[in-house]
Amino acid sequence: MSADIQQSNPILEIKNLTVDFGGVRAVNDVTLSLQPGEFVGLIGPNGAGKTTVFNLITNAIQATSGEILLNGKSILGKSPDQICRLGISRTFQNIRLFPQMTAYENVELGLHSTPHYSLAEAFVRTPRASRVEKQTHQKALELLEVVNLREFARERASSLPYGLQRRLEMARAMATSPQMLLLDEPAAGMNEDECKDLIRLIRQIHESMKYTMIMIEHHMNVVMDLCRDSRIYVLSLGSLLTVGTPTEIQTNPQVIKAYLGERKNG
């Protein structure tokens, strides 16, 4: 990914992050750091703790110890909605769209999760509020356009095919105007062709929107392609195994061993 990576202050720093669930240490002393605009991969066998790391960043679960810094400031203990407003958005491993809302409404929600007018204006719709509504409407349609879902705007989210749902989740996440986008297995359940389209879409989004992105993926060809100019973190059993370029990762004996018994695509 040819993003201009300034060697400035990191946008995200995770230091010695650890979380225990009862007797199980799901994430163990993980440290990583991202520069603004980077696109990194996060891979590892099932149960390695990848989604847990995302959950920790967004504070869906509380860390047991360690530190998470966004633009130098700690976001530990902030509520998930605060963290979203601070600029981190995500998609989910098990898709979490609003099932009875249309595709359009799902995306729109990301735009107005913090309403842009006051409660009083909601009851008595002032000209300003109407204008805001129109603008939001436009932006939602644009976002649907970006992920090629414009024609499905009025479809109920739950009735969309799986692959389209994943794209919709991305559009919704983008609607929150994040600085950082966390994608959790965006290619899950996709075939070869769909993966190719997805790679193109994600690359396009990254280049035009300049988000910092972390992507969890099991489809190796997707990861290796999208991270070819960047690096990949490998997690195994909660700990950071190694980090490196796609080539390094693919030939790393430890990584191969961690995946032994797990045959994935690519």
Partner: protein
């Protein structure tokens, strides 16, 4: 001083009844993450069945109690199968399950109301002299209720912690999906839990009926049990017992020393205050959602 002890004893005896209900409630909640609103109805049902068995069919007390327990078990398990399971299988939202449970509650309580009328009835048990310890009187029924409640809870504890079935239930309360993947029969778990619910609610109903009165809306006392369970920590069984005892005693003290009018208001305020300082209850485990 004696008045104080008297109040404490009275508080403990009502606390015991709350404990039976709170544990039943916590049991269902901890496994299914669901508030069984029909619990209210089961309790009234149990009390009325026992009452009818004694008053209309002249069964002796213990036989009537046993019959009532069996009937309530059938009712409870039936409710689970017909009104809850279809929704649970569909992974219906929490709201829908609550509405269904409330529906069951309404139906049963109002059927009882229609059939028996709303008058307060007394359980036809002989009035026996209370036991005196110094100047403090302990009603025999209260003592019996207390002993039996603790007995039932002790049996429950033994079941949960010393038997294979109990292990299955405890596993289910942590993660029902994993438990079923490990070979635990979900249908059996549901059967056992709701059977237990039936037992706990009917026993509580009978004791409450004896101590106070039997009337269609008597199940409202389950709100107190729910409050106690929340205070103790929703989903925690020991918490439910602790919460019930605390609530029972405090409530009785308020009723005795301040005013019985404000007893219920107090219980409610107590709940709010506790939650403000302990958002998960005193001993609660916070539920982690799987993302």
């Amino acid at each position: 001083m004696e008045l104080f002890i008297q109040q404490i004893i009275s508080g403990i005896s009502i606390g015991a009844i709350y404990a039976l209900l709170a544990v039943g409630y916590a049991l269902v909640y901890s496994v299914y993450n669901f508030t069984n609103w029909a619990f209210d109805a089961f309790m009234a049902f149990g009390a009325f069945m026992a009452l009818t068995a004694i008053a209309s069919f002249f069964l002796p007390f213990w036989a009537a109690a046993l019959l009532s327990i069996i009937l309530t078990i059938i009712l409870s398990v039936g409710t689970e199968k017909l009104a809850y399971r279809p929704l649970r299988m569909r992974k219906a939202p929490r709201l829908f399950m609550m509405i269904s449970a409330m529906g069951v509650n309404l139906t049963i309580v109002q059927l009882i109301n229609r059939s028996y009328g709303g008058t307060f009835r007394r359980f036809p048990v002989e009035h026996v002299q209370p036991i005196f310890v110094g100047n403090v009187s302990i009603g025999r029924m209260d003592l019996l209720a207390g002993l039996i409640s603790f007995g039932v809870l002790a049996l429950l504890w033994l079941f949960l912690y010393r038997t294979k079935w109990g292990l299955g239930i405890r596993a289910s309360s942590i993660d029902i999906m994993t438990a079923s993947l490990m070979g635990i029969n979900n249908d059996a778990v549901a059967l056992i839990i709701f059977a237990l619910t039936g037992v706990l609610s009917s026993v509580a109903g009978i004791f409450y009926g004896i101590k106070y009165a039997v009337y269609p809306l008597m199940g409202l006392i389950t709100i107190k049990a729910m409050i106690a369970s929340i205070v103790g920590g929703l989903g925690s069984l020991p918490g439910a017992i602790v919460g019930s005892m605390i609530l029972g005693v405090l409530e009785t003290l308020v009723s005795g020393y301040i005013s019985s009018t404000y007893r219920d208001l107090f219980s409610f305020m107590f709940l709010i205050v506790i939650l403000l300082f302990f958002p998960n209850g005193l001993m609660g485990k916070s539920g982690e959602e799987k993302l």
